[in-house]
């Protein structure tokens, strides 16, 4: 894969945890941003990114190449990761 998948998550959201667990279990290396734990300035920047990508503030968001997946969705993850 060209670039590592990126996950935008909230530290308290169990669906975000499930998405990360799914990636871990499939030995997928990814970058993660826990949006709620960022400081204010950084958080504003990241939220803007997320809103631009998805038109909302819903988590988790997974970026896999050109694919953007909002919410924990194992079928979509499998398809995008060709698992």
């Amino acid at each position: 894969m060209a670039t590592k998948p990126k996950v935008y998550a909230l530290s308290t959201c169990p669906y975000c945890k499930r998405t990360r667990r799914f990636l871990d279990e499939h030995k997928i290396a990814y970058d993660v941003v826990e949006v709620d734990l960022l400081d204010d300035a950084e958080q504003d920047k990241v939220l803007e990114e997320v809103e631009k990508l998805t038109n909302r503030r819903s988590f988790p968001v997974v970026i896999i190449g050109p694919t953007i997946i909002v919410g924990h969705d194992e079928e979509k993850l499998k398809k995008a990761l060709k698992l």
Binding site: L10, S11, T12, C13, P14, Y15, K17, L47, S58, F59
Partner: protein, 136 residues
């Protein structure tokens, strides 16, 4: 103003003022009929307010969500424990039991959040976080 003229109790969780029932007195433990929070009746100035006897404790949020589900006839699914873990995380990091799947930590998003109390579950079949579900 005397006590018998005051007819409402302020709930610090959902910010509703619910009816004061006849016979209640200071120190009584009552349940907010709007959000399910357990409250100890106190007089503050001229107003009855509910205090949260177990504020911030796991017991408080467990009892609140169970009571709210009971009042509304909602049910839980197998995400319940993980969502409660998230609510406890919100309380640890952000000071109260806010929606675990939302970014914002504002009073209207204290669980059960205002959108939930305004009919999200009736409309969508579940609340934003998927804690409360409409019975099928």
């Amino acid at each position: 103003m005397t006590v018998h003229e005051v007819t409402r109790v302020y709930c610090p969780v959902c910010q509703a003022k619910f009816r004061f029932s006849e016979g209640w007195k200071a120190g009584d433990i009552v349940v907010c009929p709007v959000c399910g929070q357990k409250l100890r009746l106190e007089m503050q100035g001229n107003e009855w307010v509910g205090a949260r006897p177990e504020k911030g404790q796991e017991k408080e949020i467990r009892e609140r969500v169970d009571e709210y589900a009971r009042i509304k006839g909602y049910v839980f699914n197998d995400m319940k424990e993980e969502l409660l873990e998230g609510l406890l995380g919100k309380n640890r990091r952000f000071g109260d039991f806010y929606c675990p799947c939302r970014m914002e930590h504002v009073p209207e998003f204290m669980c059960p959040c205002r959108p939930t109390r305004s009919g999200d579950v009736e409309r969508d079949g579940k609340c934003y976080c998927g804690l409360f579900w409409k019975k099928k």
